[in-house]
Assembly symmetry: C2
Homo-oligomer: 199 residues x 2
């Protein structure tokens, strides 16, 4: 049985369908929308429609853009001979925040995951191989997540890129900066020892 | 600096402005919206606009309704000689879920709170007094929350209703059903003892 007017129940349902939003939170959010001004509610609704309508994928690197080639691919300042391959547009944002990397990107939009029925053809792998095949690329950095699926995807792509004259690298493993040795897991510590460097 | 296309950043900001949604959650929700179909995104946006546009307050009890007098005030099955006064439309939903109360409601839309600059005139108190003044009401049940502000509001309204021939009651205090005595606070235990009943 419904205890709120139908349009309010509908809005509660919409919020409840979002990931990580439970019934109580959805109710709180819907009541918050009611408390907005007409103008604010319209802005919220427009933001949803506009994001959905205007945000597309860059035809070169498949990162999100609001029209045409993305700002990173369009920038003459970025080294086009290095491509950093990530699973998700959020990973691009994470790497950009570090302000260290000056190459280009390629967004796969997922990782190979047989459990979730995601195969190589569901990802932006062909477009990456095409970019590399054009010959201007010197290095491809595999920056998928350091978990089983991210590893498998990195290995798969590295094998695909073998025929081309290109260096394929992987992000370094090790203890996180500011972390504590005593809390590091065995696998990370092992990789940190393996990858030790001269001081 | 922004790492996402402007329309996406805007949507993240909109989500982040909702209560209880932090930056990371807002990002997750915005990406979820991008993953929706055009139709689903439109339904979400429409739900916001529709709730804002169609949901109004019942002219009698001030509960939320989607047009005209609410279903509880319009129902001939509900006893119109008893009015349950609550602070919020969500409280109506909570009491309705108990399926015990068969009277009408009155929603104050808040409680008296000098700290938050909410005075009696900011609440639906005049409309309650007018309903009682019409003379058909036998009992007014004060069902504001059992906290300082809820108590003060209940006392204030009870005094306002003194001149009328009406019983003003308050919800019973006591230990919650299914609760444990050892976890009950002193004030609740004291009230539970005061309000003890014959078996």
């Amino acid at each position: 049985m419904e205890y709120f007017p139908a349009p309010l129940e509908k809005l509660v349902e919409q919020f409840a369908s979002l990931p990580g939003i439970g019934g109580k939170s959805a109710q709180r959010l819907a009541f918050h929308v009611l408390s907005l001004s007409d103008q604010e509610a319209k802005e919220f609704a427009d933001a949803i429609l506009e994001a959905k309508e205007k945000v597309t994928c860059c035809p070169v690197c498949q990162n999100l853009t609001d029209g045409g080639i993305c700002s990173i691919c369009a920038s003459a300042k970025r080294d086009e001979s290095v491509i950093c391959v990530v699973a998700d547009p959020r990973d691009v944002a994470a790497i950009e925040r570090a302000r260290e990397y000056m190459g280009r990107y390629h967004v796969l939009h997922g990782v190979i995951s047989p459990m979730n029925h995601v195969g190589p053809d569901d990802l932006q792998i062909t477009s990456l191989v095409e970019r590399v095949a054009q010959g201007d690329v010197r290095e491809v950095i595999m920056a998928t997540n350091p978990d089983t699926e991210g590893e498998a995807t990195a290995m798969y792509i590295a094998r695909l890129l073998k025929p081309f004259e290109v260096r394929v690298t992987r992000l370094a493993y090790g203890i996180p900066v500011g972390g504590h040795l005593e809390f590091a897991d065995d696998a990370t510590l092992m990789r940190a020892l393996e990858g030790r460097r001269e001081l």
